[in-house]
Symmetry: C2
Subunit: 331 residues, 2 copies
Amino acid sequence: MTLDAALKPHDRLAAALSDDLAQVTQTLHDYMQSDYAPRIPQVSAHLIDAGGKRLRPMLTVAAARLCGYTGPHHIHLAATVEFIHTATLLHDDVVDESKQRRGRPTANLLWDNMSSVLVGDYLFSRAFQLMTVTGSMPILAALADASATIAEGEVLQLTTARDLGATADTYIRVARGKTAALFSAATKVGAMLADVSAAQVQAMHDYGDALGIAFQIADDLLDYTGTDAIGKNRGDDLREGKLTLPVIYALAQADADERIFWERTIGKGDVGDDDLAEALRIMTRHGALAETAAEARRWSARAKAALQALPDQPLRDMLADLADFVVERLS
Amino acid sequence: MTLDAALKPHDRLAAALSDDLAQVTQTLHDYMQSDYAPRIPQVSAHLIDAGGKRLRPMLTVAAARLCGYTGPHHIHLAATVEFIHTATLLHDDVVDESKQRRGRPTANLLWDNMSSVLVGDYLFSRAFQLMTVTGSMPILAALADASATIAEGEVLQLTTARDLGATADTYIRVARGKTAALFSAATKVGAMLADVSAAQVQAMHDYGDALGIAFQIADDLLDYTGTDAIGKNRGDDLREGKLTLPVIYALAQADADERIFWERTIGKGDVGDDDLAEALRIMTRHGALAETAAEARRWSARAKAALQALPDQPLRDMLADLADFVVERLS
């Protein structure tokens, strides 16, 4: 195995696209400034310079390059996508009353909820200013649609939390809102910049959508089966009453005692120290964990299938490897 | 005096533009729907149907009509402007921990902060979707700029609260962010739809800007001198440590004792029952209230002066009357 092949797919993408991504980082810094309100760049930098993987802007840049785009606007759109993502993180941490993000205290803890809400609004506005640089109304419409889907998904998650009647369909809709809508917008607008067919734009969208859903399912499965990663603790979703796919599958086959368990924990939020182990026993008994992993793999396969419509280039292989990697974590 | 003349200017504008405004209300209702998250229209309707004066959408419609626009897009832009306004109200009430708005409990009290943050984000996204209907990139850029200015002004207000060093310049900047940026964007984009000169677009912008600043100064003055209006209590700004123009003018002439008073109240937030009366005594002694009223009148006059560049029509007279009305409340 060569050194290059040993790198994770997003590291290989980052290396292949390093010049573009350096420009994206520069654009993020340029646009997060404020002439009058120094708290704006302070709060923004806390998230933007926190060492995130820049996965979403990388998807935009990769999609644009894979589709043969040679202009400058993929940089603006990649920064747009990262600003929308950062704004939603700031607002999510207020909504969830989170104290940690990426292993560091959240902005709402370091400053206050007000700063997080308002700086989020500012970055969201800056995102729209950045889009207008492209001069493309269809691209703006795609990103406005994605933003609406994100907020709608978050409200749906909020209002269906602790609702044991939530279905796998509802779960996918929430996952699309929370994660996949921005992934698919990121890849789609990259393709829209280039001179490719509508079918290829759709394929790039479908790749992002399926990748995002696979990513969210994997994340939710690891919340039960993973090791404690930085900034995220195993069992958070159980404690917070989030009805994720492993629970939905286990609930579908629950006997009377198990139903009482889920009603007490997910439904009422009465979660003790032994309940995570008990949840895992119930899930294992019904094959809910394996079923969830299989569903994640189906979405990963859909992402790779969508790529077939796109040019056969090294970047395409890296995007396919990324779809594999998302679910490799599960075995 | 005829019945018509006895009506307040915004009532006369509402009557003159009633067909357009009915379409705006219909568009607001159409776009605040959600297929999956019923809480979105519930929270939205709580504000949008609360009987606000629809001043901002009225400005967009009036500007478009005054400039001779005959197409359909002023409706979309008026709804855009009202959605941006509604989103900022939802977020402001979270930031200020407000309990009342327009004489009713706030959304954050009736539902929760999370719903207010996320539904605000949704309406903000819908606002951008509505803009794209016009197909005009310069209009989108103007509204994105206004949104950034609003958020920046709010952050500036947050970070300069209780700071006795804040100047009249800072105050005007905050007022522009809180209020005037959306007023001026509302009037400007109405004009941009029509086939008028750049000078007339600028004049329509300047009218909205000056009207908004006059409006904010008047509002802040009435916080000290007005009668308790529905949903707003006299003395709120003193209790909340907001450094508004009457305080800034009084501070500029404060003797040592008065400075101690302002440091304790505005600076440290230690405000007792008698302090509003004492604040008024100090302001009156230095002419700070009269000076504030005069500044509001200067901005009102600027608004009217800007209208001179626009067609001499009944709508223009109503807009001029509106500028007068904003400061008439002060005498």
